[in-house]
Amino acid sequence: MIMKKLMTILLLCAGATKMSAFCGFYVAKADASLFNTSSQVILARNGQRSTITMWSDFKGDVKDFAMVVPVPVVLKKTDIKVVEHTLFEMLDAYSGPRMAEYYDNNPCQNYDLESVSDMAYPSSMARGAGMQEESKSAKKEVVKIEARYSVGEYDILILSSKESVGLADWLTENGYKIPSGANEVLEPYIKSNMKFFVVKVNTDELKKRGTSAIRPIQISFNSPKFMLPIRLGMANANGKQDMIVYALSKTGRVETTNYRTLKMPTDNLVPEFVADVFGKFYHDLYRKNMKREGGNNVYLEYAWDVSMNAYIKCDPCSGTPPEIAEMMTAGVDWLDFDYHYNTYNGSVFLTRLHVTYDRENFPQDLMFQETPNKENYQARYVITHPAQGPFDCSEGKNYLSSVYKRRVEELQELSRLTGWDVSNYADYAYTINGFKIPMESKSTSTKNTKNDTTGFISKPNNQIGLPNNGTITSENPTKEAVFNPIYLDDDNKGGNNSADGSKGTDAYYIVALGAMLLLLFMLISSRRKRESV
């Protein structure tokens, strides 16, 4: 049910569209109904220094916007910045899962027709407007205001507290609506000596800027902890939340140390029509993959050296690679510039992680480590356009038959990846740019066939070797049919999260059984040995 809701609320995936919520929680000042559904974070790490840039698509009235993020130190004013959201849009478009397309050569013609292009998906953001500012004095004895800043359109307080109840009370008294159960969530952070970075929107400042959109906020601090606090964000969340993390590091990939970091499937060959619905395709692929691997993992969507050292920054590029100025805005401060030659030393590695978290599966905040792993990776899906006809030579006939085979495999792959029922798309395999494929070699095609003008035999009105044996109900699949795919299993229909990682569980039982047998065997053999002695 939650999944269904999520699917309708956000078309998250790849170039993700509607994002909202940071790693902190929102505290509503009115009874505004707020959804903490997803967020984007840029993490730049240089030694012990972390720069965290947070952005969400806050859907409510900005005067209700508030955020609480635990931070390890009292931040100075220079540690807090506001950056433009284009930074996120650029990173998102550049590092998102991509589709590559290839073109076949016509075997009956001599010219070459080959190219690679890419599909970037739109990334749109919409925000509400509104203005209000408010602040009251703290109860000095329990909550201490360590610092108070005004940065851009934000009013910022750094609070420290000795006890969670006091902090929760203070926030309530100052007009913030605290999610129930916030006490318990705040407590461990207070005991860990963390400070609280509390943000509100200064509506007058926002008015001066002549815009209604709030910008991403960035904080920098030194701490051995390389982590993102997600637990506060779960305090008032309904169900699962999505977060995209763009990690920029000196040496190589960033991975989580307390959860598995898994690669998304990549380089899969999928049918041409997937290009029209790439967002939906990736969304369903992500959900199905998550279902298979279990709900408590972090998924790798992109990993690449984005500095001058790397000549190729992606293949294909779904967006422009980040410029040096943009990386510096995001917190990359470790490059050595040589202004004379207009160059620099040092490298920047970008890792894009996607995590869907909830309280049950993510009991701990996300802890990261930077590894020396420089291996490039991208979540990439490939479509292949067949050659244009005519295919009247003998190679042409073989070519069409090979395209048929390829397309059947593409459909099977699509079904495997997304759980879509592809039996409606039989026509995709049989008709190639208006040409029917030759069917002599197919055993199922002996009946109901007729010769057409191209000299090939058209498709049978019967099933083809597609994964499920559903009959063909539509000969010409429409886009609508793709947009509302029929699912073969429950994975993407929503609901039933409890079955997460079902495959894993089966395997565990097999291993458990094996181990039991082994133990039994050892017990018997050692007893027998003792007897013989």
Partner: protein, 282 residues
């Protein structure tokens, strides 16, 4: 006539099985090799680990050949190749790198440390531990991935159970428990009692397969732990304390592995202070 023939055949085959099982159970290293192999296969089939055949092959060849060369020039006891096999499996399970040279270095250092840092027949460092740490420090191109095991309780229960059977055989249960109880106990006091994290937060950090592998298969290596029982317990408790400090105060990833590396040389001191019969692989 025929029945006696069948009987003798049966007896013969059952005695063969008996011989095989006796051979298997005669050396705890056989269990260790089997279990580590199970973990590796499980990781590849179920935890989404990449199959890095080439890396695995390089690891095995390096470890085994280094062991063979050193053994040839020392005691010529080629039974010790089993230990090299354990080291290679441990490296495959814990050690990550993308470079063949680094794997070679780790394999070589692991095995060579046994022969180079040796006092009275005991290793100063745990071989795999030494190999991993020194290679990470020297090359800067290697790392360990504590997150690779996920957090499925059942799997970890079995790592523990299987580890336990090995420990019973090598009589190092005290070491594992002293370390584990100290480390988990201190973490419990800090995280749950003092900081007030919920209990699933606490359990989550002990579901790292790396920690359990460390507890049941690394710290308990009989040739690099103190020989006297009391010394062993004190030594493991110390490792637990240092690991706790590194993990929770200094935020070091894979803290226990670093703690063992730092405290390993104390084994020699403990062996001087407390005399006891040395462990010998059978």
């Amino acid at each position: 006539m025929i029945t006696t023939q069948i009987k003798s055949e049966l007896q013969h085959s059952s005695s063969l099985i008996n011989k095989a099982t006796d051979k298997f159970t005669s050396d705890p290293r056989h269990y260790q090799i089997t279990f580590l192999l199970i973990f590796l296969l499980f990781g590849i089939t179920n935890l989404g680990w990449e199959v890095e055949q080439f890396k695995f092959i390089v690891t095995f060849i390096t470890c085994l050949s280094t062991q063979a060369v050193f053994t040839y020039f020392t005691n010529k006891d080629f039974n010790s190749l089993k230990s090299a096999l354990i080291s290679s499996l441990s490296l495959c399970l814990m050690f990550k790198t993308n470079e063949m040279g680094t794997i070679f270095l780790a394999g070589f250092l692991s095995i060579a440390s046994k022969f180079m840092f040796r006092i009275n027949g005991k290793h100063i460092f745990n071989p795999t531990n030494f190999g991993i740490i020194i290679t990470i420090l020297l090359s800067g191109k290697a790392w360990i991935s504590p997150g690779q095991w996920g957090s499925n309780g059942l799997l970890l229960l079995f790592i523990g159970l299987l580890g336990l059977t090995v420990l019973l055989r090598v009589k190092r249960l005290d070491t594992a428990f002293a370390f584990f109880i100290t480390f988990v106990g201190l973490s419990f006091i800090r995280n749950v009692v003092y900081q007030g994290w919920p209990i699933d937060f606490f359990f989550h950090q002990f579901t790292s397969g790396t920690l359990l592998l460390f507890t049941f298969f690394m710290i308990t290596d009989p040739v690099s732990t103190p020989s006297h029982k009391i010394a062993r317990i004190v030594w493991s408790v110390l490792i637990g304390v240092v690991a706790f400090y590194m993990q929770h105060i200094l935020f070091v990833n894979g803290a226990p592995i670093w703690a063992l590396f730092i405290l390993s040389p104390l084994t020699i001191l403990f062996d001087k202070l407390f005399s006891a019969n040395q462990f010998k692989w059978k």
